[in-house]
Amino acid sequence: MGRPWLIARLVLRDLRHRPGQAVLMLLAITAATATLTLGLALNGVTASPYLRTQAATNGADVTASVFPSGTSGARPADLAALTPLASAAGVTAASGPFPVAFATLRADGHAVPVQAQGRDQSAAAVDQPLVTQGTWVRPGQVVLERTFARAVGVAVGGTVTLDGRPFRVAGLAVTAAVPEYPGVCYYMTCNSPAGQAEESGMGLAWLTAAGARSLATPAAPLSYVLNLRLRDPAAATAFAAAHGPVAVTGPGSPSGPALLTWQQVQDADNDLVSVAQRVLAPGSWIAIALAVASVAVLAGGRMTEQRRRVGRLKAAGGGPSLVVVILLAEHLLIALVAATAGLGAGWLVAPALSSGGTGLLGAPGLPALSPGTVGLVMAVALGVTLAATLVPAVRAARTSTVRALADAARPPRRRALLLTVSAWLPVPLLLGVRLIARRQRRAVLGAASTAVTVMGVVAVMAAHRDADVATARFNWFAGLPDPVFGRVSQVMAVLTVVLVALAAVNVIIAGWATAVDARQPSALARALGGSRGQVSAGLSVAQVLPAVPGAVLGMPLGVLLFAAANGTGQVLVPPASWLTALLLGTLTAVAVLTFIPSLMTARTAVAPLLQAETFG
């Protein structure tokens, strides 16, 4: 029991002795694991609200639609094609066929295309939309799908027009038979005369069957929809495949009605969540890359700081293996706590990004964390930490006891060209460049960290730019905010905060590690006449200079990341003014964040540092 107890005591004492570094490392790993947890926890979170809505509305397992056909759409829909489906094998109940008209709804200054379903005033056996506010359809009145009504800004009691005819809004309702706004035509089941562009922002309205028929014109005849309940809902896909083209193959197919299964509707309702996942997936790996950089620099810096402690441990009889175990245990303990915190944070934040909109009943609530998710997050946290700390720990353990006791730094690298060039630079640059030359790997890590952060931010910028361009060109949502992009923006904001926070932690850690490593050279520079300001500026320069190529490299990488992540391969470069602002902002942020550790190092008393014994 002696050895584990001793290790535990030494680990805990050291963590208590240097809480600041432990907290920084904790923050870095927590942020990365929280992002990863968030991405993993969103799997299937909308399942329960959809099923709840389906149960409350006697939702259809399959809906079948027929549309007008012909080049101008003037040939009436083949209503007879729906009749055999109502009595097909496996069907236990049906409602409809209901007439469907495509009209333009005007309200609150907006003109939005809608699919207007004509319904009976009595409840339907299958897919009776659940009125959540107000009442069900009556003559001269309309019920709007809840998400759509909120997007347009219409409330119960208000008035809208459909193709110029006024209707009073009787109520708001939800359904599981049609995807919620803006996914009503997600599978192109609308076949509206206006074409696909307008279908992207189409809303859903219910009115009386007579009201729907009155909206039809010779140029835009009615479509029809039949709702079916199956004995085996799980067989919906097979049923649809057997009885007609699945809706995604295109509407109005001459080969028969377009069929839409409940699973497809559920997927469409999950669009907001899945788009969040698509953004979070690369985002969480970027966050992990940044966390690796944080932990690597932090571990290296901690080892530098602990040289003398290692020497004392070895002088007291501790072997290299004990030193490795203690140093690793310390970091792995932090990683374990951070992974737990990250799991908790990701799990708690998930509901904010998992609501599928208001078209379903109830919130998804806190997602269940599967053992797989917990295991993966823990493995990533521990793996990242082990990868970043093993080499410095082994190196520290193999340092000679005498060197370690003398606190002798690892001999710095000599880069003759950099040293020669630096002689011609102003003093802060001279000091900064020489610090970079001493520890080039740290500078490379700093540049990589900046590149990864800028890459993430540029990808976010490209996504915003993409949305601006699309909005300006297509006006898919009739001037209304794009809910999908709204969710993407929300996720990207969270991701940007995580990336920037991680990058900030990285800069602080790298600044601190450089300051620790540069204590003696800095003290010497001051003893030889360098001022505090020059030394402090030199330390900042050592961080800012590597950030320049990092930021510049991160920009094309960000453009490529967006092209890879958006699924179309589209290359979109954000405006030059945005990129310039990002470059200047990044360098300013690095300078500001490194200023404090630099200043602290420059303020340290010179004399005690120069009294240290030399070695060799």
Partner: protein, 242 residues
């Protein structure tokens, strides 16, 4: 005219029962061209005194005048300028930058002072030649002996043409042969009129000075003017000639 004058210098560390008076009411005058040795046991405050005189640390009380200018009230920038232009330091631990060659180490203070790299390099090479290390100018410290390293450090202390060189146990890390090398160098500096204050606990080095001050518990307890100074046989005086 006195080059360096200190009056009533005090410096204490800690508080209460742990209070240590490292320098306790010390006064000192150093004339131009004089070599002053300060001796005493470890922890008597001699290094602290040297740091106060060179502006590496600030006194709690007392005044310091260097080359006619009161320096104890200087701000951080003023002290940096003083260290850059007027003071040269030689440390026991050499404090050479491991990644810089001998000549690059020597020219560093001149670069920090804003001199042109060419002028700094020329002067650094001259000083290395003067310290007998012309053929070692491109060597890294790790390739030099202890004595050679300390001679590089002395050359570095001289590169800004300081009015005074402060040496803190300059032979403390050296063997006898290396000690002799360094002593010879100081002897040359003394002969050239360089003002030196050397802190040491080695009586052989003290014997080469014009004046020997003994410290104990932060205060001067004895002061002796040495007539032999460095004019005699250095090796004999230092007891290094066997």
């Amino acid at each position: 005219m006195t080059l360096l004058s200190a009056r009533g210098l005090r410096k204490a560390y800690g508080r209460g029962d742990a209070l240590v008076r490292a320098v306790d009411d010390v006064s000192l005058d150093v004339e131009p061209g004089e070599t002053v040795a300060i001796m005493g046991p470890s922890g008597c405050g001699k290094s602290t005194l040297l740091h106060l005189l060179g502006g590496l640390d600030r006194p709690d009380a007392g005044t310091i005048t260097l080359d006619g200018r009161q320096v104890d009230q200087l701000g951080e920038r003023g002290l940096a300028r003083m260290r850059r232009d007027a003071v040269g330091f030689v440390f026991q631990a050499f404090h050479l930058m491991d990644e810089l060659t001998a000549v690059e180490n020597v020219e560093l203070p001149a670069l920090l002072a804003g001199r042109s790299p060419r002028a700094a390099r020329r002067h650094a090479l001259e000083l290395l030649a003067r310290t007998g290390l012309a053929d070692r100018a491109r060597f890294l410290p790790s390739a030099l002996s202890g004595g050679q390293r300390q001679r590089v450090a002395v050359a570095r202390a001289l590169v800004s043409d300081p009015v005074i060189v402060l040496a803190d146990e300059p032979t403390g890390n050296l063997d006898s042969a290396a000690t002799l090398e360094v002593l010879r160098l100081f002897d040359d500096l003394h002969a050239a009129g360089q003002t030196l204050v050397i802190v040491t606990h080695d009586s052989r080095i003290a014997a080469t000075a014009d004046r020997l001050i003994t410290m104990r518990d932060g205060a001067f307890i004895d002061e002796t003017r040495l007539t032999g100074g460095t004019s005699g046989s250095l090796a004999r005086l230092a007891g290094l000639d066997g």
